[in-house]
Symmetry: C2
Subunit: 212 residues, 2 copies
């Protein structure tokens, strides 16, 4: 499996903001139009920023009317590649991994869990939401037998994270959502996003006593 990658002129911050625009748009009526100024009020990002971010990808607005909410929503979905279903696997099915499987608000229809892996003897062979939990050792074979795995979600303990990441990359994984509180050592053709809950608590702990 070799996903073709183009070097992007787009900064990660642009993509992060696109996901936030989407989150605001989804609560609005698709029939309506919205101006960048109205989007500024809703999202907190400036109208100039919003127009600039969107201009990287095309001309989505209509002069004098603004953006069709339906069109803008659909276009951002296409940019992010979530207008279609993407295949994900979850490695580590302790409670956090279980939460991701069972709480559909986190994956929605854009992401389809096609594999769950753990190393606990008592869990392997059991099922969550109809998906059988497999041994982590099976990952390489699983990859050979599947068409496409888009994202691996890593919810294993910190001490196991690097070893499993190396195994995932060898097996062909190209992108990883990492919940382990560790900086993974990975080649730069692999996409990684870290979600560090402990770091977020630390940030919030600072801000509870300091105003922005």
């Amino acid at each position: 499996m070799n996903i073709e990658k183009k070097r992007s002129p787009i900064s990660p911050k642009v993509i992060e903001r696109l996901t936030q625009y989407l989150r605001h748009l989804e609560n609005l009526s698709p029939e309506d139009f919205i101006s960048s100024k109205e989007l500024e009020i809703r999202t907190g990002f400036t109208a100039t920023q919003i127009r600039k971010d969107l201009s990287y990808f095309g001309e989505f607005g209509t002069k004098g009317k603004g953006y069709s909410i339906r069109n803008l929503y659909n276009n951002i979905e296409k940019i992010l590649g979530i207008q279609k279903t993407n295949n994900i696997i979850i490695i580590g099915i302790r409670r956090l991994g279980g939460a991701l499987v069972e709480e559909s608000e986190f994956t929605k229809e854009s992401f389809n869990i096609i594999g769950i892996f753990d190393n606990s003897k008592s869990k392997i062979g059991t099922e969550i939401k109809g998906i059988r939990i497999r041994d982590i050792k099976e990952i390489p074979f699983f990859f050979q037998s599947k068409d496409r795995i888009d994202i691996a979600i890593l919810t294993v303990p910190k001490k196991a994270a690097q070893q499993i990441t190396t195994l995932l990359i060898k097996a062909g994984v190209k992108s990883i959502l990492n919940f382990a509180p560790i900086n993974l050592d990975i080649p730069n053709n692999i996409a990684v996003q870290n979600i560090d809950l402990y770091a977020k608590l630390q940030e919030l702990n600072y801000w509870k006593e300091h105003r922005i």
Copy 2:
């Protein structure tokens, strides 16, 4: 309860980077010294950026030697207020909330869970890790009876999030870690951090096909 807040000249990005410096430092020997150049190599942030971030808070380096890892670590902990234990409550004890209670990697010794709340009749009165699950309706009374609640972690479904947030703020909560995929409407004296798992998956989905 009225936490005194000073308007901070510090940008949220500075605080976010501090948590990342900490994450790198914790794997190094506290006896050693480290230069900002070495920190650049480890963290990916420039030495200039690192020096500037730290200079907001004091003079932590020693000329010609760099930073004492132990001192720098302890100082960043103090800046973030995590050298001491902070009290948190969790609202919504479906699987994600349960994961936060049971997987100590997410809270460590800096954060102590003193209350768990849910609205499910079958859960109220039961215990997780020795902590009794209480009815969400009890939150206002719980606040009156406790010295200090630093952070409320919200892991309720999207549709319930705003209503519970309003209740939390009325009860006296000053900072919220929100996992519900919704933009909470909150007064600007309340600190909020959102962790949007679905948005992170969307970002990663973009980057799996585009190189940074």
